[in-house]
Symmetry: C2
């Protein structure tokens, strides 16, 4: 979907250019954000997928953007990140992931850090529980920043769901605390943009998930019981995706180095 706002403080046209992109096989959403009013139109991609890198880079080029960051919310187990491939195709792009992920990247972030692109920025919030290193990126507060805010929650909070907590340092207790303390404390009209959706939803809001999320509206004990009894199968991509994603999606290249 697309999103465009007039700043709540002024009559300026929207600074944020926003595109949501879908990779069908892994049902992954990649997000393109740019400061469209900055002369260089600096842009970033959140959770790019290796298979759709060419599509994403064509769009970046057609829109006249300058891609500066390829950002991951966490080390994905279900698809290979596009960040490594993007770096080989667009010199100068920096990859970003959380310090807590222990993965390779050019820049490591933690709670409170800001990722700036033009006059816009994303705020980093640690939201561990699906994996140890999961973070949520939230658009900033202040003049020129998009209103309502937008939260890129990775697999911490999905629309009417959440990521599994049974591997990669996952913990249902931690996930419950993360969502309640770091996401549900955002303004209720904040948009939730997850890393995946399997039912065709594209967006939700904090208020909606606080009211209707079938897992996270429960008390902590009930939530832990739900997460312990999901009986999920081992992700078929995991043994390929996780090692590759620990090195920015470039497993073969790195192992030769």
């Amino acid at each position: 979907g697309s999103y465009s706002t007039a700043s709540s403080q002024s009559q300026q046209p929207s600074k944020l250019l926003f595109r949501q992109l879908f990779e069908k096989e892994s049902s992954t959403y990649t997000y393109l954000l740019a400061d469209a009013t900055h002369p260089e139109k600096p842009a970033l991609l959140v959770d790019p997928v290796d298979k759709t890198v060419d599509r994403d880079l064509s769009l970046v080029k057609e829109l006249g953007l300058k891609l500066i960051y390829a950002i991951n919310t966490h080390v994905h187990a279900d698809h290979v990140t596009g960040s490594g491939l993007i770096k080989t195709k667009v010199p100068g792009v920096k990859s970003i992931i959380s310090k807590a992920s222990n993965a390779q990247a050019d820049i490591f972030v933690e709670t409170g850090d800001r990722i700036c692109f033009g006059d816009l920025f994303l705020e980093v919030r640690a939201t561990p529980g699906h994996t140890l290193g999961c973070v949520t990126y939230v658009t900033g507060e202040g003049p020129n920043q998009p209103q309502p805010r937008m939260a890129f929650t990775g697999d911490a909070l999905l629309i009417r769901g959440c990521g599994r907590t049974d591997f990669q340092g996952g913990s249902s207790e931690q996930l419950y605390k993360s969502v309640h303390s770091q996401i549900f404390t955002l303004p209720k009209d904040t948009f939730i943009y997850p890393a995946h959706d399997y039912k065709g939803f594209t967006v939700s809001t904090v208020g909606e998930e606080m009211q209707y999320n079938p897992r996270l509206t429960k008390d902590e004990e009930t939530f832990k019981g739900i997460m312990e009894n999901l009986n999920l199968s081992y992700p078929k991509m995991m043994d390929v995706a996780v090692p590759a994603n620990m090195v920015c999606g470039l497993q073969d290249v790195e192992s030769k180095a």
Copy 2:
């Protein structure tokens, strides 16, 4: 994707609640629009799909909306519309399609008509060529209306593509004229929301398609040549979907009547 605007005329919060919804099997987008600031929160669905009616109606209910219209851009050949099913499940909902489609519905529209929901409205523009009865619904102009405008183009204009023109009264000549006279004349920042996307794009703009659509940027003769040489196979759903959609998606019910 989600979309929310402050009116360009005032500091009011966004009136439009907007959700884009995806049906994976036929790669169809359904759109939910509502006037969120009206006391009744009147809402409409554009191009609902039979298989995802329950998902869509749950969302309508959770968001506290009052669904009043189920609207189709045309008689689809690739999926069965949800409008008939919606009418059986939510009494009072009226189905809408173009007069030129010759399909059944509660309300027939043609160029220049307005479909009102609360203080918001969609404008009807005839865009034949994919089918004889195709229309594009465009959000209104004026105070309170979303800015930039949004065009729901059905299969007339797709992102970097367009619908086929080889059946259902299709005509490449007509499609070329429709897109150029009815869609490319909208402001360049108008969002294009198509009925389908097969590559994971969710939105485009008039300006983008005028510059990068690989078919419609060509001259009319080249366009006609492209459309004549697509060598597409017969849509597998066509013999089921078209007769069903001519009667609002309720073929079995109607044939018993």
